[in-house]
Each structure stands twice: as C-alpha cells, then as structure tokens.
C-alpha cells in the first residue's frame, strides 16, 4: 500500500480522540512557556500605576516605551545613572572580538588536528575536549592571577581573552568534527599543487566551512553575551558587561520597585541573542548536521 493511500484512509474515532488530546497537551505546554515571556513584555510596556492597579496578565492600555527608554539611558546602576547603554557597548566590544578570535583559532586548531596529523594529535584533542567539561568556577582564580600578571584586569580585553581561551575547547570540537568529513585527498592534492599550511587553510578549507562557522559563531556569541560569572568576577564599575549591569540595575532601585524598567532591562539584555537565534537558528541546526563535501 502506498503512503498516500494509508494516510488518506478514513480515521477511526480513537485516532481522532488521540489527536485532539495531543493538540491539547501541546497547547497547554505552549502557554506554560509563553506566559512568562508575555508577562515580561507586557509589564515592560505599562507604567507603574497600571502595574499596581491591574492584573499581571492584563494587556497594557497603550504601547508605552518610557520604561525602555529609562532602562536604556537613564536608570541608575550603582551611583552612575547612565542606563544600560554603555554596558551594552561593553558587551558588544567584548563579544564580537571574542567570537571572531575563538572561532578562527578553533578552525585553525581543528584543521591542524585533522589534516596535519602529528604524533599525539589525538591526545591533544582529548585534552582540549576535556576543556569543555571544566566548569567556569574552576578557572576563575588562576584566570584572575593571569589577568593580573598581564595587567588587563577590569578591562574588556581581559574578558575577550578569557572567553577566547574558554571557548576554544568548544570551537575546536565543532571544527574538528566537521573537518574529519572533508577528504584528506584534497589536502594532498593541494600540497602537490604547491600550497602550504595556511594557503590550503584559507583557499580550500575555509571556503568549505560556512555551515560550521555559523554554528560556532552562534554558540560562542550566546555563551559570551550571556556570561555573568566571568563578567562579575573580573570587572567592576564601568567595564562591566550588560548582564552584570542589568543585575546591578535591578538591585540598586531605591524606593519603589520599578518592575517595568526591570523587565525592559531584561529584554534589552536578552535581545541580541534572541535576534541571532531568530535569524540564524535554522543555519545552526543545518550546520550541526552538515556532512562531508563530495567533490
């Protein structure tokens, strides 16, 4: 029997009931997950009176962005009342170089580990892989000392270094696993053609890498942008990333708790990673499952 015939055959009642039940469960779970998001967005668009007066679930009366404006450029974080703006740019100037450096180094390491196998390459890879399982907390103390020695404590550069080093384990894993699927004969052919290590990398291997570069970029961007612990440990005051600043913003409210500003701050903080997922999410999945390139 063909598939079409099987699926278009009249369904018995039991199947219909099961289907309804399935939809019901799915919808309940969808609401379960969407409700908090709705509350956050909704509250950020209300003013304080409306929050106090109305129900948590009520729709805002009007689209009022004053809380967003306040969180972005006026809210007090500690003693500085600058809003999240400078910290947002801190995060950008930490995340972009961090992503680029860790992705490039990961690609290079993965390439060397798969296409220029040296004695002990597998051991080196196993050790690097081990880095994926080292919790953040373990590296804080030695890292703090290192940053102190180099003299870049409490700077964005320090955070860039920390994230590049810590992310290397993951990016290497991504690229290595992708590059093992590229036939070695390509590298051999290019070697005979007269290309060296870096020429082969940038003329032949990198052009084949976009799917896995997307994966690495999304992963690293999310990790670095969302990081709180390193930011809180290695920076204070003006050099802090947005995640730490947002936490301080919520904690430094004096007098009335401004829920709308807190919610807006949370959304501003989360926006970049959300956008990355919305626009590049499908490439992420595609890249993770991408296989070898048949010549």
């Amino acid at each position: 029997m063909s598939d079409a015939a099987r699926y278009s055959a009249p369904r018995p009642w039991s199947a219909l009931i099961l289907r309804v039940l399935l939809w019901f469960v799915l919808i309940v779970f969808a609401i379960w997950f969407l409700l908090p998001a709705y509350v956050v967005v909704g509250t950020s668009l209300k003013d304080l009176d409306e929050i106090r007066g109305g129900s948590l679930l009520a729709l805002p009366h009007e689209l009022n962005f004053s809380a967003w404006r306040h969180a972005w450029s006026e809210a007090c974080i500690g003693v500085e009342c600058t809003g999240l703006k400078p910290y947002f740019w801190n995060s950008v100037s930490m995340a972009l170089p961090g992503v680029v450096v860790s992705t490039l180094l990961g690609a290079l390491t993965g390439y060397a580990l798969t296409k220029w196998k040296f004695k002990g390459a597998n051991l080196v890879f196993a050790l690097i892989l081990f880095g994926c399982f080292v919790p953040f907390q373990v590296v804080i103390l030695p890292m703090a000392q290192t940053l102190g020695k180099i003299g870049i404590t409490n700077t964005v550069y320090g955070l860039i270094l920390v994230h590049s080093v810590y992310g290397l384990a993951f990016t290497t894993l991504f690229f290595r696993n992708y590059y093992v699927t590229i036939p070695d004969e390509l590298v051999r052919a290019a070697t005979i053609d007269g290309a060296g290590f870096f020429t082969i990398f940038h003329r032949i291997i990198l052009p084949l890498s976009p799917p896995i570069i997307v994966v690495s970029v999304i992963w690293q961007f999310t990790q670095i942008w969302n990081d709180f612990l390193f930011g809180a440990s290695f920076t204070t005051g003006g050099a802090q990333p947005i995640t730490v600043a947002m936490n301080n913003l919520v904690n430094t409210t004096t007098g009335v708790k401004q829920y709308n500003v807190d919610m807006a701050a949370a959304l501003i903080t989360a926006a970049p990673t959300l956008l990355v997922y919305i626009f590049a999410g499908r490439y992420f999945v595609r890249g993770l499952t991408a296989g070898s390139v048949k010549g």
């Binding site: 004969e185 390509l186 051999r188 290019a190 005979i192 390139v293």
Partner: protein, 369 residues
C-alpha cells in the same frame, strides 16, 4: 621527462612493515602499472614517490636527483587521485589553474594553458562549472587536466578509473593510453584491475604484502608468470592449476591426468616432453601445472595433445564461450569455439597445448625454469 628509480624502499608504521624493500627502475617515458590486491601497499608506494609519505628506508630518485627530502611541490610530479580530489568551491578553470597559481605563473599565461588543456580533454565548455555540477567522467577529466597543465616529469595515478562505470572506464583507459603516447611522459599507475594493467602498461610490477612478485612486460607476465600468485592474479578467466606427478614417459617426462569422458573417469597420459629440461630432477615428484583456459581449446588441432572430455556447463559471453570441465572432481575452465554458432555439450574433443603450460614448484610456488 625523467627516469624514476626506487631503491630498496621500506615503509613501516610502528611494527607493521607495509613495504618490504621495493626496487623498481623506470626508463624515461615508461608506463609502469602497480598491480596488486587491496592493502598490498600500492598507494603507499605511490604516495612515497609523490612525497606525501616518508620512506622508512631506501631511496627514490627522479632523473638523477635523490628526492627523499624534497617537498612534493618541488618534485615535479603530478598526481591524479581515486576520488579526484577536486577543490569543491573552485570552478573547473580555477581547479586546473591552482597549481600554476601556486607556482606564480602570471595570470595571462595561466588562462592560456588552462584553455589548451581544456581543449585537449574536450571540456572547454565546462570551465565555469563547479565540480558538483559535473558527471563522474567529467570530474575525472578535470582531475587529469589538473595534472596535465603542469607538464610534470612524472605522472602518478592512484586508481583513477575505479569510480567510473564500465563503459566510461574503457573510454578513459583509451584516453590515458593516447595521452601517454602523445606526451611520452613517465607514468606510474596504480590499479587492482588486471585488464587495465595489461592494456596500459609498458611494464607491470605485481605487489603482494609489500613485496614485488614480478616486474616485467605484460606479455612476459602473462606468458611466463614468476610464481603461482602472479599466474593466478593475471588473466581472466583465471589459470587452472592441476596437481600432477611427473613420470618418465617414452619421449620424455609425462604425467597422468584424470579427465571425465562419457560419464566415467578416464586417465590420460599428458606428454610433457617440451619441458624436459625444466623437469630435470622432478621425475617422481609432485608439480603444479598451470593451464590457461585458452590452452585447453575445443576442437582438434595439431597445436597440442588431443583428448576427449565431458562438458559440465558452458558460459557464453558473446565473443567467447567458456566450458567448465570436470577433471577428477576439479573444475577446469576451457575455451570453446567463439560465438553462439555451435552448441557445446556432452563429450567433445579438446586440444591441450602442453607446450605452453606453466609448471610450478608446489612448495615455493615458483615457476620452474
């Protein structure tokens, strides 16, 4: 163009000895085929010539230059890989030009040479395509083009036709042959297809477990295989091996062979007097006799000894009909008359050309000389 000399090449991976002292000497412009079963070290040897693998021991010379420590790009070789190894993100034109570009050939000259090569290989209309948009045969051509454009001293081929279907393989085989004739370049060609080896080679080196079994012209290998391994590997359908005991006949050595005729076993004394010198000292001892199917042909001629045997089954292949005979419970392949013109069945006459038979020592497997 250059000669190629391999002196006592040894390759070890840890304790495993993959090549056990291979020595091969190639004339300028010679076509050598490395033939052997999977895993015998053909690719390893080729990669060592290319410089992609180091030698554990031994020496490789191209022309009169020892190249052991010369980088692959400076050895003046070009290689065609089994998987073609085309650069997937480059167009055909860029693929062919890459080697020239790496050598700093100016752009205008590059374009000119790519165009020439593309014309030779009849693929000038494909230059702007990516490898993924080509058929298997076209990819194969591009891989050849990439080697040709560099005009190297030595061409290396690692099973370049094994990914093609039968018809295309035949076409490309002829094309390679033509190419060799035109360029007159030194070529080393790896294959495990004996037909390719026989048709292409000036000389064939037969490898087994990292050792050269025989290095000789196709005719020599076919007519005078050095040992039973070579005899069994080359030739299709394969050679028949019969265990015989040498007796002293009236005219010289002879051997009793049991054939089957009319449903009953029938011993026949085969005359081996043509091999008198060879069998000197073997009288009363066991020997293996190798008979190629075409040495047992249907019908009576005066080329050999005529016997009667029963045909078990026949296999018609169009040009030839193969007869499977039953000799003392052993299957023996014989050549029937060509084509479908004659029905072959029952007990018929066959002529055995004992003169051309190969005789081997059963212990060492070596051919008696």
């Amino acid at each position: 163009m250059a000669s190629l000399t391999i002196k006592n090449a040894v390759k070890r991976y840890g304790n495993v000895e993959v090549l056990k002292g291979v020595s091969i000497d190639l004339r300028d412009g010679e076509f050598l085929v490395l033939l052997g079963a999977s895993g015998c070290g053909k690719s390893t040897l080729l990669n060592m010539i290319a410089g992609l693998e180091d030698l554990t021991e031994g020496e490789i010379m191209i022309g009169d230059r020892v190249v052991n420590d010369v980088h692959p790009k400076d050895r003046d070789i070009a290689m065609v890989f089994q998987s073609y190894a085309l650069y997937p993100t480059m167009t055909v034109g860029q693929n062919i030009a890459f080697g020239l570009e790496m050598r700093g050939v100016p752009k205008a000259e590059r374009a000119l040479r790519v165009e020439q090569v593309a014309k030779t290989l009849r693929m000038d209309h494909l230059l702007d395509r990516k490898p993924a948009q080509l058929s298997g045969g076209q990819r194969q051509r591009v891989a050849m083009g990439r080697a040709l454009v560099r005009d190297p001293e030595v061409f290396l081929f690692d099973e370049p036709l094994s990914n093609l279907d039968a018809k295309l393989r035949l076409e490309m085989r002829t094309e390679i042959k033509r190419l060799h004739k035109r360029l007159n370049a030194t070529m080393v060609y790896v294959t495990h297809d004996q037909i390719e080896a026989l048709t292409l080679a000036d000389r064939i080196a037969i490898l087994k477990d990292g050792e050269v079994q025989q290095l000789a012209s196709p005719a020599e290998i076919y007519e005078h295989p050095a040992n039973m391994f070579v005899a069994g590997l080359v030739g299709s359908p394969p050679m028949n091996f019969l265990d015989i005991t040498v007796e002293a006949g009236e005219a010289g050595p002879a051997a009793w062979v049991t054939l089957r005729a009319d449903g009953a076993d029938k011993p026949v004394l085969l005359d081996l007097s043509a091999h008198t010198a060879r069998l000197d000292g073997y009288v009363g001892r066991k020997v293996v006799m190798g008979l190629r199917p075409e040495m047992i042909s249907q019908g009576t001629t005066d080329a050999g000894q005529c016997v009667q045997c029963e045909i078990d089954v026949t296999e018609a292949t169009g040009a030839d009909t193969l007869c499977v005979l039953n000799w003392n419970n052993q299957e023996v392949l014989a050549r029937g008359t060509s084509g479908y013109t004659k029905i072959l069945e029952g007990t018929m006459d066959f002529t055995i050309e004992t003169e051309r038979a190969c005789l081997f020592d059963p212990e060492s497997g070596l051919r008696l000389d």
